[in-house]
Amino acid sequence: MTHWLIAPVVLPAMVAPFIILAARYHIGIQRVFSVVGVLVQIAIALGLALRTSDGTVLLYQLGDWAAPFGIVLVGDRLSTMLVLLTAVLSLFVLLYAIGSKWDERGRHFHVLFAFQIMGISGAFLTGDLFNLFVFFEVLLIASYGLMIHSGGNARLRAGVQYVLFNLLGSTLFLFALGAIYAETGTLNMADLAQRTQLIDPDASAGIRVAAVLLILVFAIKAAIVPLHFWLPSSYAEAPAPVAALFAIMTKVGGYAIIRVYTLVFPADLELTAGLHDVWLLPAALLSMAVGAVGVLAAKKLDRLVAFAVISSMGMVMIGVALFSEAGLAAALYYMIHSTLAAASLFLIVDLVRQSRGHVKLKTAAPVAGAALTAGVFMAAAIAMTGLPPLSGFVGKLMILQAALDGPLPVWTWALILVSSLVSVVGFARAGSTIFWKAQSVEVDETAEPAAPPATLSYVAVGGLLALLLALTGFAGRVYEYNTATAAQLYAPQPYIDTVMNTPGKLGRAGDAKADYDTDGKTGDETKTEGETH
């Protein structure tokens, strides 16, 4: 049992109260601790990702209570990769928030930021559905605070909608959990995976209701059409660094769908047969199409990016909804790509807002720093819309290739290609209106020229774009890793064995011993490795 597995949850949980208690009135110290905390978080996440990269499943039993009774955290390739992605993303977002002084415009930015990272990392690592709910609430309550950070009436109004929608989602989540518990008597995901195999398919009414409720909840989080209504105004009104951090929040919903529908309700499970293939793929295609139309129709740049997020989340879900290893591997690649691309776009929107004062898609006079902003906007837009040579194109190719063997290949190909074209047009129109046509506008000499954005802001945006570039350059390596991840997700037996058979205070120690001797690697290795730390 390695204690490092709980570090991504505990570290931000310690940093946040420390900042509140020790550095409440000193923004400089807050910044230092916040950045150092995120750097350490990256180091830990990197270590965990390296440890799990060979297929090891790490397990942490809280209070040493064994699995079906105790709470467990589980780290496999997928969860550690996403924890690492969260940590890396939050570093650049934090740098931007410091560079653009967003963190000074309201109280407790760094504290809420740390709690948000804690909630996201916990949601990725937990091996228990109820704790998934709890971590969802942790990340949501932090996001409520961040969402209305620095105030303003428009932001508060959008905040009310955002909070209410998520409250309803949480209530639905609890209904789903109650139904699952009533049907199976457990909420541990590995235990559930075993028990759903045992339920008689003829007595499936209750568990099917629970499975549908659960996918609805995750679809709300992932902003899949028609459950996306909360996203555009809340992402558009949120402060820029917050919106950029929120780029990972839709992926939490995507992660939950991947986890639950490969482990607990896999596609070949007779009990819930027909739930996956019928609904998820059309919903994903619809999200992508609606998002692309939204990109074309948006009148403001921030809305445009919000709809691009919906579109890219639809793209991820297409890969997931194929329910094949190739599809999932492509979806995971696209997930990393779209998180980074969306985050950089939200930051660039803020750069534009700083230099022009607004983000309406109208021509206005060029301002200081516009050339550089136009450059990064173009790069990020190319990535987001999936034009060559950046990673969006590679990811899209992977999903197209995987879709060939899936259901509805013609529809998938047609919709992906047409939506890409539509969003290319949308982004090109926005870019040319804001940056290109600026030359044709008479400059108002009397107006006070806006100060160009801080260098650190550009460093943050440039860092995200460099990551996108690296993702393109190492696409083969990343895809290999994701293929291994997908294979691990589709062969969940080692995961289940590790969770269920590692002995603890209340464990079935005798059974566990026998299991170690037979398959040697999984749980045993985890345990001995952990003790060396």
Partner: protein
Amino acid sequence: MEFLVASAIGILTAAGLYLVTRLRTFPVILGVSLLTYAVNVFLFASGRLTTQAPPILTDATTYTDPLPQALVLTAIVISFGMTAVIVMIALGAYLGTDDDHVDDVPAKQARKKGDAA
């Protein structure tokens, strides 16, 4: 008793959903509260209904499932905190804009406000 609990959950949910569709912050918050009551009772009932039994395994014949009680306790705390947050945000939004609509302001009302100002 099963009928009573089931209908209580049903009525609370129906009333909550009705209030949520009112689209003004006060009824919506009340509606969300009713929904959380409903879900708490539902969670509580998910461990099967037993009367006069402790949630501790003293003798193996009469006990009630302790886990739903723990779940409900967590859910109550969380929903209470969330309700407090939404009340504060809604109050801020109402005092700032003098308008308690949850959705975007209807055009008619926006015009009326323009006349008044």
